[in-house]
């Protein structure tokens, strides 16, 4: 009885089982089992070409998997497009492609889900309302940017913030951040960590991809490492100090190379 209750309550938010992906002759993912629990922050690490981006692109509906299954809240799903992923509650922030540079923060946040006002048979975008809601979101994330600011004028950290605001606004259940701290200043990294903490407060789960363990260790619940398309590490953070984990990662990397 207790056991079954426990199992029920621990149905992962997202689970991939035995997922494979080929790019021509390259076997990019070799049967990856990966899960994210509700409200959990998972640090996904690994070298270039480890398969991190491939895995999250499959989850985000950008590319199809070649084999394997994906479960969302316990149900088997096929995610064929970004739209379908969004419908499930998966919001992805792709590095450098997350925002339209010449659009304002508010237009970016609402892109694809604009607030419309009906006018007879026609629907028009209600910029005023979008700007107002954006102002609230930006304030919540402690961003100084104005809603009407074109995002190309923002710093790297602030840009991530705008993308995260999108997830907050639309009550996503899972946010995927693809190398959000790449090319960011120290202050920018701290800012992004802050955003992720904010997501966690709202009970939103997060996959945080990075090369650098120190960028994700302070906020992560679990650390998963991919190497050449294989999951080589999947541990709860509490079980290791950062130094221990770092040593482990170096060891694992060496093993694969050797």
């Amino acid at each position: 009885m207790f056991l079954s209750f426990k199992m029920l309550s621990e149905t992962p938010l997202l689970e991939t089982r035995n997922v494979h992906k080929f790019f021509g002759k390259v076997h990019a993912l070799k049967g990856v089992n990966f899960k994210v629990n509700k409200g959990e922050i998972v640090g996904l690490i690994g070298d270039n070409g480890a398969g991190k981006s491939t895995l999250i692109k499959i989850i985000a509906g950008v590319i199809p998997k070649d084999a394997g299954e994906i479960f969302w809240e316990g149900k088997r799903v096929e995610i064929n497009s970004v739209k379908e992923a969004r419908k499930l509650g998966i919001e992805t922030v792709f590095q450098e492609q997350a925002l339209i540079d010449f659009f304002s923060a508010s237009r970016n946040i609402f892109l694809g889900r604009e607030i419309l006002t009906k006018f007879g048979p026609f629907s028009f975008i209600n910029y005023k309302k979008m700007n107002m809601e954006t102002a609230v979101l930006l304030k919540e994330l402690r961003l100084r940017a104005s809603p009407e600011q074109e995002v190309r004028f923002l710093s790297g950290g602030e840009k991530q913030g705008v993308a995260v605001a999108r997830a907050l606004k639309f009550k996503s259940k899972l946010v995927i951040l693809d190398e959000p701290t790449r090319a960011l200043s120290v202050a920018g990294v701290a800012q992004v960590m802050d955003f992720v903490r904010r997501l966690k407060q709202e009970g939103i789960a997060c996959i945080f991809i990075t090369h650098t363990l120190s960028h994700v260790y302070p906020i992560a619940d679990r650390i998963v490492m991919l190497s050449r398309g294989v999951k080589v590490l999947d541990v709860n953070k509490e079980e290791y100090t950062m130094n221990e984990l770092e040593d482990l990662i170096i060891e694992l990397s060496k093993k694969v190379e050797g």
Partner: protein, 322 residues
């Protein structure tokens, strides 16, 4: 006080083509006061309306990050086919007669859109191909002028009566301005033009957006054929033949970016008017067509430089001060 000054500056750079029109016109008037004449202004605007539709078509393609080399050729083709159909069927009702060029234009646009949007072929090459195809096909079908007296009166008044011509164009321009600025579709056109990859990632169906952009371009090209026919009171053999480059010139003078994602259709129309003012002025001074062409070339090059300056000023104003 400083904010006010900045806003005025921003307004100036964002409406630059309109100020240039006034600047050039006043320049010509100072040199020749007889040009200060309401009928003269009316005619300048009126004569540029058919081209205005092509600039609009080109601008929407450019904003979406594409290009349409076939606009002028399709105009000639649509004008001819639609004219011939009307000559052969004189009892076609009035309302249908004006829908004919729009429909044929839309079909041509759909062909472009299918290849560029849905099959993702290169827009430059596709429209180069359709440009040659429609240009050739027009002469393959019919090699001479269709006279206005053989066409229904209702078909000719749209481009034939200056007031109606200008008024209806302004309405259509307004509709497209609203579509581009206040509808989802319009926002997606800009988004695709800025970065089709990001747009795709955000769940926008880039293929479908491009497909519809070319259909719209086709519809506007059809309208251009209708207005050219009325303006000329005939479908001349050379109809719209030299309108391709002016369609780009108007758009660029209006500040539409060839890189996509930026520009406004109202400014693009201002760019077209600017061409008309310069043409009108140079004609008044009996500048030969060859010299005029040189002037246009310089004007377009100046426009690129001006746009660059404008963007720099705009950025320096919009950039948040820390």
């Amino acid at each position: 006080m400083e904010i006010k000054g900045q806003n005025a500056k921003l307004f100036l750079v964002e409406k630059l083509p309109w100020f240039l029109i006034v600047f050039f016109y006043l320049g010509f008037v100072i040199l020749r006061p007889s040009l200060l004449n309401f009928n003269m202004i009316l005619f300048m605007i009126y004569s540029v309306i058919p081209l205005g539709f092509l600039v609009l078509a080109q601008s929407i393609c450019l904003i979406s990050g594409n290009i349409d080399l076939s606009v002028a050729a399709i105009t000639g083709f649509v004008g001819t086919v639609s004219g011939l159909l009307l000559v052969a069927n004189p009892f076609i009702p009035d309302s249908v007669s004006i829908l004919l060029p729009i429909l044929i234009g839309a079909i041509c646009g759909t062909f472009n859109g299918f290849l560029i949007g849905l099959l993702e072929f290169n827009p430059f090459i596709v429209t180069l191909g359709t440009m040659m195809f429609f240009h050739g096909f027009r002469f393959f079908i019919y090699r001479s002028t269709i006279l206005g007296k053989d066409l229904p009166q209702f078909y000719l008044i749209w481009g034939g009566k200056p007031e109606l011509s200008i008024f209806s164009f302004v309405i259509i321009l307004g509709v497209f301005w609203i579509i581009l600025n206040y509808t989802r579709f319009g926002t997606y056109v800009y988004a695709v033009g800025c970065s089709s990859q990001t747009a795709q990632m955000m769940g926008i169906n880039v293929k479908v957006i491009k497909f519809f952009v070319y259909i719209i371009s086709g519809v506007l090209t059809g309208l251009s054929a209708l207005y050219y026919t009325g303006f000329n009171n005939s479908v001349p053999v050379t109809m719209a033949q030299e309108s391709l480059f002016p369609s780009f010139a108007g758009a660029v003078l209006g500040g539409v970016s060839l890189a996509g994602g930026r520009g406004s259709v109202t400014n693009a129309f201002a760019g077209t008017l600017l061409l008309a003012v310069v043409e009108g002025g140079l004609t008044a001074f009996q500048i030969s067509p060859i010299e005029r062409e040189i002037a246009y070339g310089l004007l377009v090059i100046a426009a690129i430089w001006l746009n660059k300056m404008r963007d720099q000023i705009r950025d320096s104003i919009l950039k948040p001060k820390i």
